[in-house]
């Protein structure tokens, strides 16, 4: 009984994944290759005055917003987590 439900659940999840994947590939094929900002502007009809170049980053991964601020805030959050974890330990 448990195994049947597990399989059924996984099958439904698998079908959902296939449906959404097909949907996203179709949407990508129609709209074309664009960055996030460009895709958004295009969707709502904004035509920016200057085209901003997309930074290449590492293997195509890049940080949105200011990199230095990102590193500072992320580091501060990690320090807060470590302090809270140390204090919450019995």
């Amino acid at each position: 009984m448990f195994k049947t439900n597990h399989k059924k659940g996984l099958m439904i999840f698998g079908v959902l994944i296939l449906v959404f994947l097909a949907l996203s590939i179709a949407a990508y094929a129609i709209s074309g290759n664009m960055g996030i900002e460009e895709r958004f502007n295009n969707a709502v009809g904004i035509h920016p005055d200057s085209e901003e170049g997309v930074p290449s980053g590492i293997f195509g991964f890049n940080i949105e917003g200011n990199l230095v601020s990102y590193v500072i805030i992320a580091s501060a959050l990690i320090i807060i987590c470590v302090v809270l974890y140390a204090r919450s330990k019995p």
Binding site: Y28, A43, G60
Partner: protein
């Protein structure tokens, strides 16, 4: 994931105020709910801090998929933290994101509403499926897909209701463009669903108490 990537000035001041007020009312309800419920112990605060850090860190990373998309782990926040703490977390993440230049300050209210939809729908779907004997991986993954799908619908609704200043495009054209955008967003939702499914399954194996809160 869904996030309104429009700069300040895209919405009128009236709509920016409305979305901000609505978001603050919901955050107020979250805080009231947290206070009225079991209260917040140090363990909950630690989990909330970790979810905030993880969400902020991953939220800013632009992935080279479909031209550029990013995850935000909002349904995971809902599953592990619940909608009340989740509401506060998404507010903090949106404020910090605006601080580094990812999203406008005026858009925080609208984006909090979008992300709260994802958190609540993710949490609700996960809890609903808990009554069935479906595996944790499938439950969490399905919760992510449904949460992010509803988040995209909320995002489209907010933009269509507000309208965008300075554009000549009709609402129908806008709906078509935003539907394509939401479709592309659902591609990264698939990745987020699989990642979240594995994370939640792993947590259930090593720290099941975290999921029974």
């Amino acid at each position: 994931m869904a996030h309104i990537h429009l700069e300040d000035g895209a919405f009128t001041l009236q709509w920016i105020s409305i979305w901000w007020v609505l978001a603050l009312v919901l955050i107020g309800l979250c805080l009231f709910w947290m206070k009225k419920g079991k209260g917040i112990d140090s363990k909950t605060i630690t989990i909330a801090a970790m979810l905030t850090a993880a969400s902020f860190a991953i939220f800013q990373v632009n992935m080279p998929l479909f031209g550029g998309v990013h995850m935000n782990l909002t349904p995971l926040i809902g599953i592990l933290g619940g909608p009340a703490i989740g509401g506060v977390i998404v507010l903090i993440v949106n404020v910090l994101s605006a601080a580094i230049g990812h999203g406008g300050w005026g858009m925080i209210g609208a984006n909090v509403l979008v992300n709260m939809t994802e958190v609540s729908a993710g949490y609700g779907t996960y809890k609903l499926l808990s009554k069935t004997k479906v595996s944790t991986f499938a439950r969490a993954g399905t919760a992510v897909l449904i949460g992010l799908f509803l988040g995209n619908i909320t995002m489209i609704a907010i933009i269509l209701i507000s309208g965008v200043q300075g554009v000549t495009q009709s609402r129908i054209d806008m709906l078509y463009g935003l539907s394509l955008l939401a479709g592309v967003n659902m591609g990264v939702a698939v990745i987020e669903a699989i990642v979240t499914g594995y994370i939640v399954s792993y947590i259930e194996r090593v720290r099941p108490d975290m999921l029974r809160r």
